[in-house]
Symmetry: C2
Subunit: 174 residues, 2 copies
DNA sequence: GCCAGACCTTTAACATGTTAAGCATCTGCC
DNA sequence: GGCAGATGCTTAACATGTTAAAGGTCTGGC
């Protein structure tokens, strides 16, 4: 199969992106009702599963780059949802954990989260869903192996988007 | 099956995100060699399949929000890869298309793109891959239906992250 | 013909993704 | 013990995602 050409808009990365977006769309109203972004919720969920996590560990578990994490954590601290401790034997490290308030928020949101997930699982079908999990696990396992060497990369300085974006003022007299 | 609790880091949105990232990692060196970001490449690919597209159409096909698109297009114009035309009968609309140079770039990159995809398909396995496509298509079709009403949403102004992020200076004297 | 509302695109403001560099601390080796 | 390099986190700079609003333009109903 695979046919000749799958049109680009249905390419694998595109479909994975769409699928994720479709799933998240179900959860977003619930998160937004508490003024949480997707990413903030990931942080809270990751911390809810353990007592405490170092930044790099947390980063790995919630798939947020350490640099982004470093930028977003102060807001969550300020809000009183997470707190920061010093590592016992290594002054370089920070250890994050949920505050009592953070845990309570998680507890309060838990039931509805699970209800949304249950509805989702019902709509998709349990069999299909577990098959999908299995395929994603396999895909990730297959592809991530040779990637030990190179991490993510972006174009360097000279990239296309470098010019200031004011050239279109020439066009505004249409 | 689905068992009791799938740990959060392997939740569906998370796995979809990881899978996409794993796939894109294979293409990124190729794109970066030409100083193109993922998104810029999506724009070029979308335009390569037709003569011309209006902004909203382009946005839909490459899954980039019109506002983002509006911001990134001038750089691609400046670089001489795409050009903008006026719509014949509707002055509100812009119509984008690839320049000769843009088409040449796409042609030049095509073979290696396909080679990377072929290697990917080989590693994953043709059967698995087409099964995966089918499941993603089904998932998207299932979930996107009731979503006609609400588009994406983010927390409103009062969100958690509103405070300036300078509170951690109190911590730097650790 | 005119006008209210819909539509298309852009802009602004903010949050997050991404890379590179900076800074402090730690670790292994001498 | 001291020092070079590794490690953990942060910051800076830029690109992109996301929302709301602004500015033209169009359309349908009158």
């Amino acid at each position: 199969m695979s046919g000749p050409i799958r049109p680009f808009e249905r390419s694998l990365p595109m479909q994975l992106m769409r699928a994720r977006e479709a799933v998240m769309a179900r959860f977003r109203p619930h998160l937004n009702a508490r003024n949480l972004s997707d990413q903030q919720w990931r942080i809270i969920r990751a911390l809810s599963e353990t007592d405490a996590l170092e930044i790099v560990e947390l980063s790995g578990r919630c798939c947020i780059h350490p640099a982004s994490l470093s930028r977003m954590l102060p807001a969550l601290e300020q809000e009183g949802l997470v707190k920061r401790h010093n590592h016992a034997r290594d002054q370089r490290r920070s250890v994050m954990s949920l505050t009592v308030r953070g845990r309570r928020l998680f507890r309060e949101m838990g039931p509805e989260s699970e209800a949304i997930y249950a509805a989702l699982a019902r709509d998709i079908g349990a069999a299909r869903l577990s098959q999908l999990y299995a395929m994603l696990d396999a895909l990730i396992a297959t592809l991530e192996q040779p990637a030990i060497v190179n991490r993510k990369m972006r174009p360097r300085k000279t990239r296309v988007a470098k010019v200031a974006s004011r050239a279109r003022s020439a066009r505004s007299k249409r």
